[in-house]
Amino acid sequence: MELLFNILVFPGLLFVLLWALFVFWFSRKVLAYIHKRVGPHYNGMGGSLQTVYDFAKLLGKESITPHNVNPYLFGLIPLLAPTLAMLTLVLLPWSPNLVVVNTQYGVLALVVLIGIEPFLLFLTGFGSNNKYSFLGGIRILTQMISMETSFFMAALAPALLFGTMNLVTIVESANWLTTLILLPGALLFFIAALGILAQPPFNIPDAEQEIVYGFYTEYTGTNYLLLKLAEFTEFLIVFAATVTLFFAGYRGDVFDGFAVLFFKMLVLAVVMITVRASTPRIRLDQMLRFAWTYLVPLSFLNLAWVLIAKVYLLGGS
């Protein structure tokens, strides 16, 4: 019974759906505020029903499978992508007594499941029989390969510091000093995550002005909705993972619980949207150079810093 609740309601399907509706609305609203606009306004309180209508509309639209594509590949990925993204939810500790799968390999499973997602999106581009989709697919693959090295490295920092890969232990043993020590790692993790999520300034795979909409170009109706749902679930996981690994997860100064985690995630969302509103997209080769000449060496240095700090500041063990 509890498992069913976990799968269907929290942290499963319903929660993901609500989060997707919320974060889509929230990002549009914050972006509009930075643009000096209002954003969605007339549907519901402050336009909060806007995304409900958007999603419902996409469900009602015709789903087109273009001529000459492989219908299995084209239709399967939009189902696989959100499912795989949601799988990751079971690993994260959402509140002091809610973690569905409490494993000793939490960090490892987390980064692997996050890291595999872009590969599915590459397959959508591959299966769309559209030149722009294909270019988008190739781009996301390139970006995934270059960003994931530093992503994994950065995720290792808390595991090294606390000497465990169990996410609950990491959250429970965090304090102000460790958070400060992990701050550079958090920054690296977040930058690499932006790359993996294809968010500005790394929104190269779906660069509207260059390759139309990248791998999304041919998707309509429900399929598009499912892909978007996968994207928003990825946001959820990456924000939650950043908070869990580096910022003491659900633990707060006054009280512990899901609300604290959610608040920290919102702060990260605002940071992401602000970056999106103020930084132009970079070129593919610039991204490659940035990833391999700065990000990867820095994440190695970060590991060294964490080890030194562990020995000299925390007294080592």
Partner: protein, 157 residues
């Protein structure tokens, strides 16, 4: 059952996404309608980069003969139900280019529009009002005029 279908119609009417296609000068006023002063996102309008995710196509003023096949193709790529809004005098009868031979003068006969906004170019608030007519049509679940007929169905493009 009827209620559920009504909800989907209502949902569509509240989130019309507009394909990014410009064929004439009226697209300048469309850009202004996205801007801070008019901000059509308040009503749920949004521009999408590809026709595959769009609900409404705006014929932005003049359509030259050369761009007509591309325009029809873009419309055909949009998933059903899809609607057409014609803005500007040119989309109706060629407007100021009525005497020019390289401009299509019977655009709304070729691709029938669900609503027409007059002006050269129409003001942004007029464009938003024109979209309201399309919203009304979606809410009632009426099929679009372009799906009912028009010369475009007989044309090769």
């Amino acid at each position: 059952m009827l209620k559920i279908l009504d909800f989907f119609n209502y949902a569509q009417s509240e989130s019309p996404w507009i394909v990014h296609f410009c064929s004439g000068c009226c697209s300048l006023e469309m850009a202004a309608a996205t801007g801070p002063r008019y901000d059509w996102e308040r009503y749920g309008y949004m521009q999408t980069p590809t026709p595959r995710q769009a609900d409404v196509m705006i014929i932005t003023g003049l359509v030259s003969k050369k761009i007509l096949p591309a325009l029809l193709r873009t419309f055909a790529q949009m998933p059903e139900p899809s609607y057409v809004l014609a803005i500007g005098a040119c989309a109706y009868d060629g407007g100021p280019y009525n005497e020019s031979v390289s401009v299509i003068k019977n655009m709304t006969e070729i691709l029938p529009a669900d609503a027409f906004v007059a002006g050269c170019p129409p003001k942004p608030e007029a464009i938003i009002t024109g979209l309201d007519i399309i919203k009304e049509k979606m809410r009632k679940g009426e099929p679009s005029a372009a799906s009912q007929g028009g010369l475009w169905k007989q044309m090769n493009f």
